[in-house]
Symmetry: C2
Subunit: 195 residues, 2 copies
DNA sequence: GACTCTATGCAGTAAATATTTACTTCATAC
DNA sequence: GTATGAAGTAAATATTTACTGCATAGAGTC
């Protein structure tokens, strides 16, 4: 009845995000999803197949959500464009911290087939926007785009991972970044990009 | 004969750094360490005891290595002090990427007793240095130290995790950050701190 | 040499874990 | 109306995994 495939993908994303591939338990996944254990092998063939499907879906979802923002940013002036792109990225990872966790787990583990974008697969819109900013003197001329990009994105991913450190001691709810904290973070990252 | 305790701590740090607590296998640890499986339970009582010992040792080692640099930084002017502290931190995590991996794994997992420093345990030397910089107008007045600190440190940790993305395709060796890349990263982070 | 104590090794055990086997429903196309 | 194949379930299997009981080796002390 219920779409057990989608239920499994969601539950598995949560479980893999917390424990990584080896640490994740299929029983925990099927329990979360509320489906029979057999369904994993029916839909995905193996735990590994399920993992690969989860990673593909996450990367696709994240990419699809970021794409329109990147396109919008590409039409703006370099500084405002970067602001838009990074702010949009922060929105995305705030809304889907599991995706960040999944990517980090994969980077830490020795997973053979990486589902992560490589240095030459970074968003071309931002690459061009950054180059334009460099020509206009808004961004420093000598700094490679890869460095500028990775430094800013890594900061956002890291902050997502350690966001619960901003929680007050008796705050039991998930401590989302307040708009005020967001503003400070964005200002710091954008100042870092400036020439 | 051989100090099996130290061998186990080292091997376990490597294994936990890659797979996290649940994903790590005690057999893999003892194989790496070249000691008998029994030794884990002799020295640490359990897998969990070994993990706790590893985390304590890593945090202590990292803290002890950073401490003198922080003290030196505290005596400098705010900007140069921050530069010294962050540059020293980058040296540390470059030399011991496993420590970063361990902390990130713990932040991602639902481990009950956290071995991570909380927001009020951030290095007091830097807190005071930052406040001094704010009074002198070097650092922005309204931005909380926790934000400025975490944003910069998270960027460094994230870059450590994703550093292999800077490798050229046929580079089989571990792609350490070149001095040139380091310079760009430090410049970007320090510019971000500036008022 | 006997005695003690810690370090180490071997061979196991019980539980956990990924995967498979055999089977039932159930919708839909021919 | 039945053939077909996908979706779902319960139980079993083979392997892995953390952990233990027990024996032994060696070093130091008397």
């Amino acid at each position: 009845m219920a779409d057990s495939r989608a239920l499994l993908l969601d539950a598995a994303a949560d479980e893999f995000a917390v424990y990584g591939f080896k640490g994740a338990r299929v029983q925990a996944i099927v329990k979360r999803a509320g489906v029979n254990e057999r369904m994993i092998y029916h839909h995905f063939g193996s735990k590994e197949g399920l993992y690969a499907a989860v990673m593909l879906e996450q990367r696709h979802t994240l990419g699809a959500a970021w794409m329109p923002i990147l396109d919008k940013a590409a039409a703006m002036d370099p500084y405002e464009g970067m602001k838009t792109a990074l702010s949009g990225y922060l929105d995305l990872v705030t809304a889907r911290p599991q995706a960040v966790a999944l990517f980090i787990h994969e980077a830490l583990s020795d997973w053979s087939v990486s589902h992560l974008p490589t240095a030459d697969q970074l968003p071309p819109q931002l690459r061009e926007l950054y180059a334009r900013g460099q020509r206009e003197g808004v961004f420093p001329a000598g700094r490679p785009f890869e460095i500028a990009y990775m430094t800013a994105i890594c900061a956002l991913m890291g902050l997502t991972v350690f966001s619960h450190h901003f929680a007050s001691s008796e705050d039991d709810t998930r401590p989302e970044l307040t708009p005020e904290l967001r503003t400070h973070i964005m200002a710091q990252l954008l100042d870092g990009l400036r020439a």
